[in-house]
């Protein structure tokens, strides 16, 4: 029994000793690791400080280089401005004196006074005021005539459209479907166009070698005379033979808006001119 007990105690003691050793080894290892890391860290820190110190002169040199370049540029600019001044003969005091002399010169003051007077006189002049009024009136008249012409053209187009639509409605039967109505409208328009073409074709102008002054007739200007000549209308005789409808068709066919012109007196004037009564033609409309 005693031997057994002693064996057990021996075993426990051995295990305790092993555990102690292990613990001591672990503690030593951790201490060593900490020591090495601290030492290496110190070394790295030393190296960085050393390198930073070495880079300091480089940065200083860079800064000095930048400053030197700026200074040299500034010096060159100053030098160039000074030389320019000497070249041009610029003297700031002289310039100030000259300015003062000019501004305080009695002649300049008088000139300014005269200028103001002239401006006042021009603005107060009756003729200038009249001219301004006239120009305003002219502007108003021109705008009103343009508006009237616009209204006339619009009325004419509206009337023409209404008449066409009325005629279409008259010709189309009342109780028909929409599609049929549209087709018939198209047919009617085509027929109308055909008729118009026939009418235009019927207006034939016989060419003559007589060249009369068509501008004598009221309403015919140089531009319209040219376009009439291009349509082979050169004599009073030709106009005297034509009706108002013929004339309107001719002008419209040539791309001239006949509604703008008063064609009612053209025929009578042409007849008078043919008879040689030019005074009556000249006084046309005055009576």
């Amino acid at each position: 029994m005693t031997t057994k007990k002693s064996n057990k105690t021996n075993k426990i003691g051995k295990a305790k000793a092993i555990f102690k050793k292990l613990n001591n080894d672990l503690i030593d290892a951790s201490f060593n690791a900490i020591e090495t890391t601290v030492k290496t860290g110190e070394k790295w820190q030393k190296l960085t400080t050393k390198l930073v110190k070495k880079t300091e002169p480089l940065t200083k040199k860079q800064i000095s280089m930048v400053v030197e370049t700026a200074e040299s540029i500034k010096g060159q600019l100053e030098h160039s401005t000074a030389r320019l001044k000497t070249l041009v003969g610029y003297d700031p005091k002289m310039m100030q004196n000259a300015k003062k002399m000019v501004t305080k010169n009695p002649l300049v003051e008088k000139a300014e006074e005269l200028k103001e007077k002239f401006e006042k006189e021009v603005s107060n002049n009756k003729l200038v005021k009249k001219a301004e009024k006239m120009s305003k009136k002219l502007k108003k008249n021109i705008s009103s005539t343009i508006n009237e012409a616009k209204e006339k053209i619009e009325d004419y187009t509206e009337n023409a459209m209404d008449s066409v639509s009325e005629k279409m409605e008259k010709k189309t039967p009342k109780k028909t479907k929409k599609n049929k109505v549209v087709k018939k409208e198209a047919v009617v328009i085509e027929k109308k166009e055909e008729k118009e073409e026939k009418v235009l074709a019927n207006i034939q102008v016989t060419e003559t070698e007589v060249l009369d002054n068509l501008k004598v007739i009221k309403g015919i200007g140089p531009v319209l005379e040219k376009s009439l000549n291009e349509l082979n209308i050169t004599a009073y005789d030709q106009i005297a033979k034509m009706t108002i409808a013929d004339l309107t068709d001719l002008l419209n066919n040539a791309g001239i808006n006949a509604q703008i012109y008063d064609l009612s007196g053209w025929k009578a004037q042409a007849e008078l001119a043919l008879n040689g009564d030019m005074e009556a033609v000249k006084n046309w409309g005055k009576e």
Partner: protein
């Protein structure tokens, strides 16, 4: 097979650290040196260009002044000519 002991681990890590430190020091010192050289060259070149531009500027203004003198001389001559005749 070598035994991995506490001592050998420490020695190896210290060795490796030494090598790394030396390599980084060398590379950074070289970079600084080349930077310095480059800076010297660039500063020299800049100074040379500034000197050149200053000379050019002087020449330009000298020629302008000469031209101005010529014009003034000719002007005076012509004015004298017209005043006499």
């Amino acid at each position: 097979m070598k035994k991995i002991s506490n001592k050998s681990m420490k020695e190896n890590t210290l060795k490796l650290n030494k090598i790394a430190l030396k390599a980084t020091e060398k590379s950074i010192l070289k970079a600084i040196h080349t930077g310095e050289n480059l800076q010297e060259i660039s500063s020299k070149k800049l100074k040379a260009t500034f000197r050149f531009t200053a000379k050019k500027q002087d020449n330009f203004f000298n020629s302008l002044e000469q031209g101005k003198e010529m014009i003034w001389k000719n002007l005076n001559k012509t004015l004298d000519f017209f005043s006499k005749h």
